[in-house]
Amino acid sequence: MKLLTKTTLYFVTVSIFVFFAGAFSIYQVIKKLEINKVEQELNYQKKIISQELKNIKSDFNSLTIISSGLIYIEKTSSVPETYKKFSDTLIVDNQQNNFVHYRKLDFFINKDNDVYKVSILKSLMESNYLIEKVALIVTSMVFFFLLTVFYIYKYFFSQIWSDFFYTMNEIRNFNLSSPKVLNFPESGIIEFNQINKDLEKMSKRIINDFNGLKEYTANLTHEVQTPLAVIKSKTELILQDTNLSEEQLKLAGDIYSSTIGLSKLVKTLTLLTKIENNLFIDEEQIDIEQLIDFHLYGFKDISLIKGIEITKKIISKPIVKINSELADILIINLIKNAIKHNIEKGKIEVLLSDKKLCIINSGNELDFNPEILFNRFSKFNKNEDSLGIGLSLVKKICEYYNFEINYNYNNNLHNLSINFE
């Protein structure tokens, strides 16, 4: 729910409740006041009537109507212990042929040893009419007021929160591939200024950290690879010495290949660190089929030497948003792995469907738990020098992009599948 919608909803709900409760109270108060007024009038009339009745000498039947209200007098035996002074009553109006609301006042008079019950009635029609009108006016005013307040609120809302929405937009556009320290204009609201200032500081820090990390990995590579370059070049020079014995040549050769191994290891570890620290941020839409074709061409020669037949089955051509460098590493390592852990005259099948890539290759069953397959440095074959680091790179990349990766072994076939969704 949007901020405006949510606050408006609260505002409207509370307003409607408060205003209608207020309107209802006003209605009740006015009604009460009106009845009080009628009762006061009735009491006044009672005084006059009782006075007059006492002064009357003649028969009661000749009594005249004193006010606009109605008076009923009847003879009773005695005054009841308790009785209601005021009550409401409905009387049929003959002229208009409908019920009219009256307020009635009952009292008793003693005259010539007789008890008379006197009832004075007063129509509430006028009062009700007034109350009705007042209620109508109050209700329409409430509606009018709500509507006005709503639009004023909406206007002020956009005015007050505009700085906030600007800030939000800037944060959303913040991108580390073209890092720019956030910079907000001065806002008239202290809290927003505070947030903006904090965000400016934070963005600066993020950019610094990011660049620092990038610099660090680059420097680390540089610092390690440079001495390795020296060792490698010196060994290569030793290898050129024609006076060396076969034994010495072999020693130099071992140093040489170990240096290559070490250099590749550093390269891969740096790569893993870079992936773990999200240093590959540029992404583009990559046609996986095209990428596979490109790399299969690179592997053509090698697979030919090993007598491995590579077939491709394309059901559909997924386009995946991924960093191009990582995409290359992913595909190369998958195919390289399938070639390396294959058998003589084996086969590799590359299956590409909507959002899934399967690499199926013939090969011997793993002699360890497949769960550690993707762990750094786990080896398929312990006799080989190579570190099983290729698959851990594959896994890291899949984790980075939330691709699901699965492995299973069936009918002497290894099946590695990656789900790009």
């Binding site: 690879q225 290569e236 050129q240 040489y256 390269k267 020669d301 090698i302 460098e325 080989e384």
Partner: protein, 226 residues
């Protein structure tokens, strides 16, 4: 050939000089930005090797200067930085090639030769080694005046060996040169051996025996026996 090596790591610079001067190349060195710039403006070189990280400056600046003053020479960047961004930046600045540390001397040597061949476009480039004649522009090889039929990889392999004539070239270097990232180093020997066998056979058919000598467990050496 006259080469300038701009590299602050003196021991690495020394190795490069030792390796390259065997063939009679004239190598000069610069250990910092200032002396590199000075040498470039004073002397003429066929090829310049530039390291990017220098104590008193940036290798890219040297390349920009060369391009600005329209000095005609090959430029190869030698750097430990191997991100795609660095490579692109290097080539965009005007370098002809980019080689990542730690590199193989044989690879560097082959790249320098290939670059020099590309630059010296005038006149036909023919490489004559003993009874072998190579026509680099046509990717063709003649032995005793007969063309021999080589696959692309066999041709690359022969070129690589010829570029590093009389040197021991390790199987790892050959594998890296031929297949780059596509080859797993632990398998390299099989792959190199397979191609080497075919190349040898094709040379032997034309009467060239023992041009390629196997250094057991290490690699190969190409030499001329006449």
């Amino acid at each position: 050939m006259k080469l300038l090596i701009v590299e602050d790591q003196k021991s690495l610079s020394d190795s490069i000089v030792s390796y390259l001067k065997i063939e009679g190349n004239l190598c000069e060195t610069a250990f910092n930005f200032e002396s590199a710039v000075e040498k470039i403006s004073l002397y003429k070189y066929d090829c310049i090797l530039v390291d990017i990280n220098l104590p008193d400056g940036n290798g890219f600046e040297i390349i920009r200067k060369i391009k600005l003053e329209k000095i005609l020479c090959g430029i190869i960047i030698i750097s430990a930085r191997d991100t795609v961004d660095d490579r692109i930046k290097g080539l965009e600045t005007g370098a002809d090639d980019y080689i990542v540390k730690p590199f193989d001397m044989a690879e560097l040597n082959a790249r320098i030769k290939s670059l020099i061949r590309r630059i010296n476009f005038s006149g036909e480039n023919i490489i004559q080694i003993g009874k072998i004649t190579i026509f680099p522009e046509q990717f063709q090889v003649k032995v005793n005046n007969d063309f021999i039929d080589l696959t692309k990889k066999e041709y690359d392999l022969l070129m690589f060996l010829v570029s590093n004539i009389n040197r021991v070239v390790t199987k790892e270097t050959i594998a890296e040169h031929l297949w780059g990232d596509y080859v797993d180093m632990s398998d390299s020997f099989d792959f190199v051996y397979s191609h080497m066998k075919n190349l040898r056979k094709k040379l032997q058919e034309k009467g060239l025996i023992d041009y390629i000598k196997t250094i057991y467990g290490l690699g190969y050496k190409f030499n001329i026996i006449d």
